[in-house]
């Protein structure tokens, strides 16, 4: 059996608008340890595992959008050490 290699990245997470209120947090420093290639999806999975509002707000099927370093991305986008990852509802400006 091969040893699985785990990766650890330190991220800045930002929660905005309805999510900030539902999660009672505007953001946090987050250490993600994963055995897969670290992505937005792995961050969401780790947050969902906290349960409570995290599981409810980030449940599969909920409309959630992501930005990595201020650019809109899909959830398969990779994340690297030092990245700012923002999680928010679909935008409603204009």
């Amino acid at each position: 059996m091969r040893d699985s290699v785990s990766t650890s990245v330190r991220l800045r997470l930002v929660y905005l608008a309805r999510l900030r209120e539902a999660l009672s947090s505007s953001g946090e420093t987050f250490e993600l340890t994963t055995q897969e290639r670290p992505s937005v999806s792995s961050v969401v999975a780790a947050l969902r595992a906290r349960g409570g509002p995290w599981a409810a707000e980030l449940a599969t099927g909920r409309a959630v959008r992501f930005a990595v370093n201020h650019r809109l991305v899909r959830d398969d986008h990779p994340v690297a050490d030092g990245d700012e990852v923002a999680i928010f509802p679909p935008v409603t400006g204009g």
């Binding site: 608008a17 928010f88 509802p89 400006g93 204009g94």
Partner: protein
């Protein structure tokens, strides 16, 4: 600056005059102004708060303007979007596009608004007589952006 995010109101006439000043190649200027309605889904809206994502907002707007310049024959373009506390009747957003001819000006102006609606990180929260609620995104906005 072709994009601005601000709490203060804007003067569309002054912005248009500045945008077209000295450019005699302009033959058409299209303008869009979005304002706060006093109703939403049959509920009376008494106030509106606009939140954004500082740091990303300006970059997202600039990217939309840059994309409009690549796609259309735009001579100059401006986006001003307000944030903070607003009231029914207040102005929210201004888009001005100048071009040689009207077709490009109309199209570029609509393009900027359609992309802004789906890509620029702003969120509206409405105050109703019985409390507050976050405005939900509309599928029709995604469809409008997808047509480009």
């Amino acid at each position: 600056m072709p994009v601005r995010v601000q709490t203060e109101d804007f003067d569309a006439g002054a912005e248009i005059a500045r945008l077209r000043a000295g450019d005699r190649g302009v033959g058409a200027i299209a303008t869009f102004i979005g304002t706060v309605r006093d109703q939403h889904d049959d509920a009376p809206v008494t106030a509106l708060t606009l939140e954004h994502y500082p740091g990303m907002t300006e970059a997202a707007l600039q990217e939309i303007v840059d994309e409009a310049r690549r796609r259309f024959d735009v001579r100059n373009a401006l986006v001003v979007h307000r944030v903070g506390a607003l009231a029914p009747g207040d102005q929210i957003v201004l888009v001005v596009v100048s071009s040689a001819h009207r077709g490009m000006a109309f199209d570029a102006c609509a393009f900027v608004m359609d992309l802004l609606k789906t890509r620029a990180p702003f969120w509206k929260k409405e105050r109703l007589p019985d409390g507050e609620r976050w405005v939900e995104a509309r599928a029709s906005d995604d469809e409008a952006a997808a047509r480009w």
